[in-house]
């Protein structure tokens, strides 16, 4: 849990009520500090508008469920992968034939993987820098927007690396096509293209998110909005990175 504008000890939600289900849910952060200091009590605001902490965790919960569904999507693909890989059929002379010819992965995928991992690091740095209290203070006092500046740099770097990864994937597809390995060639090539393309589509979404976050960093005045944007985009980016590592291992060693 990163440092947020709400000192964690105020958020008692997870500590009370344990054991007795009925205990009244403690008020969600009354004293948020943040750009609501001085009489402006977040708790008076309508549900879901009670300060950065709540909006942040709301976005994270939404992301959690969305990614849970996404996980099931890839689980379905992978289970089909296993079955198709093992399956075969009896030919006219009742010999058992398995059409599966493992697709040799272009070595550039290793490079891409490394790039993606690095991009995850830069993304995390961007996320962390959104929660540096020192910078936040400075912004409230009015010394520019160090949060946006610092995070913007890291996000830009992530965007660059992400684009690089996609370019690398494109080159991988090119190389396979040059060897006349296409989607339709073989059951295993089905899966290589299916998995890489679907993952690439997810990364495109991630890149859209990054662009949105960058735009938000410039445009939005509310610090909470910027934090939510960056935080959820980066978490999504991390998950896509981990997912890729898993899929890559599956394709490299699982065939």
């Amino acid at each position: 849990m990163p440092i947020t504008l709400t000192p964690p000890e105020i958020d008692r939600r997870h500590h009370t009520g344990e054991g007795d289900g009925g205990g009244r849910k403690p008020p969600t952060d009354k004293r948020t500090g943040g750009n609501g200091e001085g009489g402006d009590n977040w708790g008076d605001r309508p549900q879901g508008r009670r300060g950065p902490r709540e909006r942040l965790s709301q976005a994270r919960v939404g992301l959690f469920f969305a990614l849970g569904g996404d996980l099931m999507f890839f689980v379905a693909l992978v289970s089909v992968f296993f079955v198709n890989k093992a399956s075969g059929h009896f030919d006219a002379y009742s010999h058992w034939v398995n059409e599966w010819l493992p697709t040799a992965l272009p070595s550039i995928l290793w490079l891409n993987t490394a790039v993606l991992l690095v991009s995850s690091v830069t993304a995390e740095l961007a996320r962390r820098s959104m929660f540096r209290e020192h910078d936040a203070m400075e912004e409230w006092i009015g010394f520019g927007r160090p949060l946006s500046r610092r995070a913007g740099i890291w996000l830009g770097l992530t965007l660059l690396l992400g684009a690089l990864f996609l370019a690398g994937q494109w080159m991988a597809w090119d190389q396979l096509a040059a060897q006349h390995v296409f989607f339709a060639s073989n059951p295993s090539s089905h899966f290589f293209y299916l998995i890489t393309v679907t993952h690439a589509v997810h990364l495109l979404l991630g890149i859209a998110g990054l662009i949105a976050a960058l735009a938000g960093l410039q445009a939005s005045r509310s610090m909470a909005t910027r934090q939510v944007l960056v935080d959820s985009t980066v978490w999504y980016w991390h998950v896509m990175g981990v997912l890729w590592v898993f899929l890559f291992v599956l394709l490299e060693y699982g065939q």
């Binding site: 007795d20 289900g21 009925g22 205990g23 009244r24 006219a92 009742s94």
Partner: protein, 276 residues
Amino acid sequence: MLSAPTAAHFWHLPVDAARHGPAMDEHLLLNLWIALGLVAAAHGILLCGLVWRRAKTPGLKPGSSGTTERGPEGPLSLPGRGFGGESQTRRRLLLFEILPLAALTILFTALGVRSEQMWAAQRYTGADPTAMQVEVTGAQFVWSFRYPGADASFGTTKPMLIAPAAGNPLGIDYRDPHAADDIVTSQLVLPAGREVDLTLRSLDVIHGFAVPEMRLKQNAVPGQTSHIHFTPETPGEYAILCTQVCGTGHYRMQAMMRVLSPDAFDAWLRAREQRR
């Protein structure tokens, strides 16, 4: 419970001509009666509960359903719960949940075990080696039946050889010696009292091979062969239906299963062999 034939008639079950049929029917009817009984009982309780005068003794409050109070209570903290003390609560919970659920658990377990035993008897084990071999092939929208002939083995088939117009709907490769004496028919003719091992195939889409009077159903899935074995008992003409939607002609994908007395069957088989 009514006697089996009357019951079968009451439930609109068709005649039962397979050896495994009667046991299956018995289990089916048992299930149906139990279900009917439970429906009646549940509705009875429902209606009684509705018309019977409202219980005055607080002890009988269903609200007192064992949930322990929590959180701040208003002055009127009791309504709907905590009534009649824990003993009443427990009694009611026992009466309305625990006992019935235990009974249902036993009931469903018993039915489950019984049906799994029958399922295992029919499906876990293959057909007897001496069983008669017939290959059933589904294709939009006809069933074809192939007998291995004298050599008791089927000739190989190849998709590229399939040519219904040329009289080879199954794509039998006649260069294969085994294929020479194969008999292909449009009716499934079987001798009574002998076990049959059907090999189910499909050329195009999934078809459902079903013989209601034999209490038999199994999908014919393209790309795989499924086996199903049974013993027809009473001679007669029975319906073979397709029970998996397979296209425009699904409804007319019907064939006839003719069960003959053993010697009548031998005569038929000889006639067919002459014919070829």
